[in-house]
Subunit: 149 residues, 2 copies
C-alpha cells in the first residue's frame, strides 16, 4: 500500500472513543446524583477526597488532588458548608490556611452516595469482566506520564 493510514489516526480514534465513553458515564452519574440524591459530581468528588482524609485537607491540597483550580474548590466548599456537609477548621500555626473536613452528617450522607455510585459503575461497566477491567486499567495507566504539560 502506498499511503497507509498514519499511526496518529488510530490514536485520534482512541481519544475520541475515550472521551465519548467517559462523558457518557459522567452524564449518567451526574443525572442520577441529581435525581436520586439532589447532588452533583463535583460535590461527590470533593466529599470522596475528604472521606479519605479523616483529619481534613487544606484547600490547596484538595484543589491539587482533584486537579482543579483553587477558586473552584472555594465555591464548592462554600456550598457544602452551607449544607452542613463540610466544616472549616483553623490550622494552628498558619493563619493563612484552612482545613476542611466532612461533618458527621457529611460522612453519613457520603456513605450512601458512595454505595450507589459503586453500584452504578458496576452496572455501566458490566461489559467488562473483572480481568478485562484490570487489564484495561493497566493500559490506561501508561498514559499517565505523558500528561504533565
Amino acid at each position: 500500500m502506498v499511503n497507509p493510514e498514519p499511526d496518529s489516526k488510530s490514536r485520534l480514534r482512541l481519544w475520541l472513543r475515550l472521551l465519548k465513553t467517559s462523558r457518557g458515564i459522567e452524564a449518567t452519574l451526574r443525572e442520577r446524583l441529581r435525581v436520586e440524591f439532589n447532588s452533583t459530581l463535583p460535590r461527590f468528588d470533593v466529599m470522596a477526597a475528604l472521606m479519605r482524609h479523616e483529619d481534613g485537607l487544606r484547600m490547596s491540597e484538595l484543589a491539587g488532588g482533584l486537579k482543579v483550580s483553587n477558586g473552584n474548590v472555594t465555591g464548592i466548599i462554600e456550598r457544602l458548608v452551607e449544607d452542613d456537609m463540610v466544616e472549616r477548621v483553623a490550622v494552628k500555626g498558619d493563619r493563612r490556611a484552612t482545613k476542611v473536613r466532612l461533618t458527621r452528617g457529611g460522612k453519613v450522607h457520603f456513605e450512601k452516595l458512595a454505595e450507589a455510585h459503586e453500584a452504578w459503575i458496576d452496572e455501566l461497566l458490566s461489559a467488562f469482566a473483572p480481568e478485562d477491567a484490570d487489564y484495561l486499567s493497566a493500559q490506561l495507566q501508561s498514559v499517565e506520564d505523558q500528561t504533565h504539560d
Copy 2:
C-alpha cells in the same frame, strides 16, 4: 479465600482510571488551545462538528450530536459568531429553526486547530502502538449501549 474482592472493585478502578486519563488529556488540550490559539475545547468541538457538515447544522442537531444542552450551544455559537468563525443561516420553510455553519475564515482557522490537535493526541497517546489503540477503542466501544439512561 473467604471474601474475595467483588467484581465491582475492578470496574470502579477502571472508571477512576478512565476518568483520570481523559481529564488529564482534556486539561492538556484545553491549556494548549488557550495558549497557542486563544481558543477552548467546546469551541473546538463545535467547529469540528460543523466542519463535517458543509451545509451547516441546526442548533438542535449540533446540541444532539455533541450531547450537550441546547442552551449551552446557544452561548458557544454566540461567541463564535462574534468572532466571525460561524454564521447563522435562516432555514427556509421553518422559521423556528436556525442553521449554523463555518465561515470561510472559520474553516481556515479550524484547519490549523485540527492539525495541532491531532499532533497533540499523537504525542499524548504515544504510549499506545496503533494496534493497541485500535484494540482499546474496540473494547471501549462495548460500553456504549450501557449509557443510554
